[in-house]
Amino acid sequence: MSTAAVAEHGTSHDDHGHGGHGHTSTGLSNNKLAMWLFLGSECLLFGGLISTYMLYRGRHVKGPGPDQVFSIPYTSVSSFVLLMSSLTMVLAVAEAQKKNIDKAKLWMTVTAVLGATFVGGQIFEFTEFYRKGLGYTTSLFGSSFYTLTGFHGVHVTVGIIMLMAVVGMLRVDKVPGDKAEVIELVGLYWHFVDVVWILIFTLVYLIPA
């Protein structure tokens, strides 16, 4: 659903008052309002998944528990990578707002690469856990862990696709409306996904079960 929502954000801004700033009752951009609302809504989605995990993380009749599979150093590194992708993303937005679209494209590409590194790391981590005997159906811990981190991973992946799509559309100059705002919207989504990982990293990995 995020993608569809973003698709409209990217486009409904046009020169005739449907979505532009300055012509709205509050003077705020329709697109940004919609994005913030969407992110507010996502809080309840991830809240539900995190709570389910918290409830179930200690329940593993079969298979390993969290302490037997988690590797804090490994996950710390991949968390760091995602954290830094937020830095590169905000730099992309800053450049876009200064109209340096080329630099913005570059930073967005870097962001996407960092994001992909994170997702790759997550896939590797999953296979590692699977080797240690934690499958999706093994235990309540397994099901709720993979569901939570999997949902987050899908969000990162969607973010990567959006970044690459915007870079591609900027290249052929097919971005309708305000380019800086489109980049800012993708940025908001990206930072949110990062912020969710800040919660997951601490709650899921660092608190011993």
Binding site: T3, A4, T11, S12, H18, L33, S41, Y56, T147, P176
Partner: protein, 665 residues
């Protein structure tokens, strides 16, 4: 759909007259030519006009009302006499599950969306919603999800776990067919529709208001819609989580509800009701908004305590987040939880009571006009209050333990849903029909419609209080002949359904004769009810661009204040202008060269992808890839298409000679 319109001088000119001969669609996304000025069915299917979308929402929702009604009828036929043979136990389970699902998710919610889509932009003086294509996407996604849920009837049977689908009872082990899968994924799809629609309408309410319309000058219906959309934005993700857990348990063997592994069976119940309680306000608040518009108009008085009504609506929405576990008093929550949630539930009765008092005081001393719309509004106040009172009896946990899972509960929620939500929607039909279709529904048929429905609902649901307290459980497909009282009241309840059926038929007949009639009397005057809010400052039906000139708002009830003023000599309220005068005034200042968003294929393409993915999840995973490919293609096409077709899509450029010719198709 009008593309570019010239100001018009003839008020009565119906939108849709005249067709442009010279619009040439250009390649927009490099994929399809854009439907710049489609005609016939394409005009509807590709439209992004909030009014057409609203009408389509309404038509589809009404069809599902009939389907849900037929399902209810079968349930009652089965229960008409002891040992009913109409349905098997299994079919009975499917019937009440699908009845409730259809009524809640496929009728009341989309019908409220129909009203919201049509009237919110008009009430706030806007030309469309904030994201017109997202609006079309919401509609088609809802339709796709609704059809998807109902396909289960033909593919192995409907869902059978009750409308709240408690897991583990709804896991593969206890419900091995595909019904629950269709149900879960279908509701996921309609959930997307609701979420997108909600974001769209909130942004519309916040950002698209006419100059001068502050939040506390917004009509009360718009207020209630806005509160509901906030509830949707925050409640939909919770059911999304629950549905995913259920689907993953059923599809991929997730352990979430596997008690052997130590799962807590209350997990689903909590998630469902965290969503479910806000959901009941999602169902009923739009109707509260409608009657809060209707009562003042037909009492010839402003709404009593407008701000209180608005704020108590928001308060209901807010407190509604803290009471969900009152649906679980009998599930072994523990005494502290029961105490907390019991208290919170009693508190929520307060803002609801505020509304009922406000409506009553609105009518107090007014010059009441008992039109059908007004009758339904009064009907709502009375029937909803009955339902509210039985609701308070469940807030008291010890008494609820007696009532849970009996027909007493069924009685309660039908009083609030049928007597509340549905009566409000019918009030809205009669009140706004002339606005939407330019024709007045027949009052005689309307009154028959109303009285039959009132009698029908009290006969159907009233006795359920009694049989419930006598101990008849809900969701029971047969009962035996031993208890004479239950037999009698069950028979009465089924007889009530016949009244309801005839009542609803009266409505359908009314619509048909109104639209067949050649009698000039059915044509609605501009302002048939002497109404108060902005949507009546347009022609009926409104032109594609709604307002010739966007009005500047000075007052709550702007339209009323333009028609009436206090005479300083006599201190009496006097009419200073007619609706016709006001329209003529608008036309005189009509804006030139109005740009409306252009039709688009893409919302439909993306919507269609979703059920394809659903089939993939249930049957063969290849379809997931196909669906995802269609969705991605659709999103790309959408992203690259400007929301208003570029100027060079129109050839020659629109005439600028002040001609009144309208470019519509």
């Amino acid at each position: 759909m009008a593309i570019i319109e010239q100001p018009r001088t003839d008020v009565a000119l119906p939108a849709g007259a005249g067709a442009p001969a010279y619009v040439t669609p250009k390649q927009a996304a490099g994929m399809f030519a854009r439907p710049v000025a489609p005609k016939g069915w394409r005009d509807w299917v590709f439209t992004v006009d909030h009014k057409k979308i609203g009408i389509m929402y309404g038509v589809v929702a009404f069809v599902f009302f009939l389907i849900g009604g037929i399902e209810a009828g079968l349930i009652r036929l089965q229960l008409a006499a002891p040992n009913g043979k109409v349905l098997s136990a299994d079919q009975y389970n499917q019937m009440f599950t699908m009845h409730a699902t259809t009524m809640v998710f496929l009728f009341v919610m989309p019908m409220a969306a129909a009203f919201a889509n049509y009237f919110v932009p008009l009430q706030i003086g806007a030309r469309d919603v904030a994201f017109p294509r997202m609006n079309a996407f919401s509609l088609w996604t809802f339709v796709a999800g609704a059809i998807f849920v109902n396909l289960s009837w033909f593919l192995g049977g409907g869902a059978d776990g009750g409308w709240f689908m408690y897991a583990p009872n709804s896991t593969k082990m206890f419900s091995p067919g595909h019904g629950v899968d269709f149900w879960a994924f279908g509701l996921q799809i309609t959930g997307i529709a609701s979420l997108v629609g909600a974001i769209n309408l909130i942004v519309t309410c916040i950002n698209m208001r006419a100059p001068g319309m502050s939040l506390f000058k917004m009509p009360i219906f718009t207020w209630m819609v806005m509160v509901v959309q906030f509830l949707l934005v925050f409640a939909m993700p919770v059911i999304t989580v629950a549905l995913f857990l259920l689907s993953f348990s059923r599809g991929f063997g997730g352990a979430f509800f596997d008690v052997k592994q130590g799962a807590d069976p209350l997990l689903w119940q909590h998630l469902f009701w965290i969503f479910g309680h806000p959901e009941v306000y999602i169902l009923v608040l739009p109707s509260f908004g409608i009657v809060s518009e209707v009562l003042p108009v037909f009492s010839r008085k402003p709404l009593f305590g407008y701000k209180f009504v608005a704020i108590s609506g928001a308060a209901i929405g807010f407190v509604g987040w803290g009471v969900w576990a009152h649906h679980m008093f009998a599930s072994g929550l523990g005494p502290i939880s029961v105490l907390v949630f019991s208290m919170a539930t009693m508190m929520i009765a307060v803002p609801t009571g505020v509304k009922i008092i406000n409506w009553t005081l609105t009518m107090w001393g007014g010059k009441l006009k008992f039109t059908t719309a007004m009758l339904f509004a009064i009907g709502l106040i009375i029937e909803f209050t009955i339902g509210g009172l039985s609701g308070v009896t469940h807030a008291v946990a010890p008494s609820d333990t007696q009532q849970t899972d009996t027909y007493y509960i069924v009685a309660h929620f039908h009083y609030v849903l049928f007597g509340g939500a549905i009566f409000g929607l019918f009030s809205g039909f009669y009140y706004w029909w002339p606005k939407v279709f330019g024709r007045l529904l027949n009052e005689a048929w309307g009154k028959a419609n109303f009285w039959l429905m009132v009698i029908g609902m009290n006969l159907t649901f009233g006795p359920m209080h009694i049989i419930g307290l006598q101990g008849q459980p809900r969701r029971m497909y047969q009962y035996d002949e031993s208890n004479v009282h239950t037999r009698f009241w069950n028979a009465i309840s089924t007889i009530g359904v016949f009244f309801l059926t005839i009542g609803i038929l009266c409505f359908i007949v009314n619509v048909v004769i109104t639209h067949r009639s050649k009698n000039p009397k059915v044509k609605a005057p501009l302002d048939p009810w002497d109404a108060r809010s902005l949507e009546w400052m347009t022609s009926s039906p409104p032109a594609a661009h709604n307002f010739d000139a966007i009005p500047t708002v000075h007052e709550l009830d702007e339209f009323f204040h333009r028609k009436y003023a206090v005479d300083h000599d006599t201190d009496e309220i006097k009419q200073i202008a007619t609706a016709e005068d006001i329209m003529a005034e608008q036309m005189a200042h009509a804006e030139k060269d109005i740009h409306l968003p252009s039709p688009s294929y893409w919302p439909l393409v993306v919507s269609i992808a979703l059920p394809i993915i659903g089939f993939g999840v249930i049957y063969s995973h290849i379809f997931i890839a196909v669906g995802a490919a269609v969705a991605i293609m659709g999103i790309f096409g959408w992203s690259m298409e400007p929301s208003v077709a570029p100027k060079d899509d129109f050839e020659p450029p629109a005439p600028t000679d002040g001609n009144i010719k309208e470019l519509t198709a």
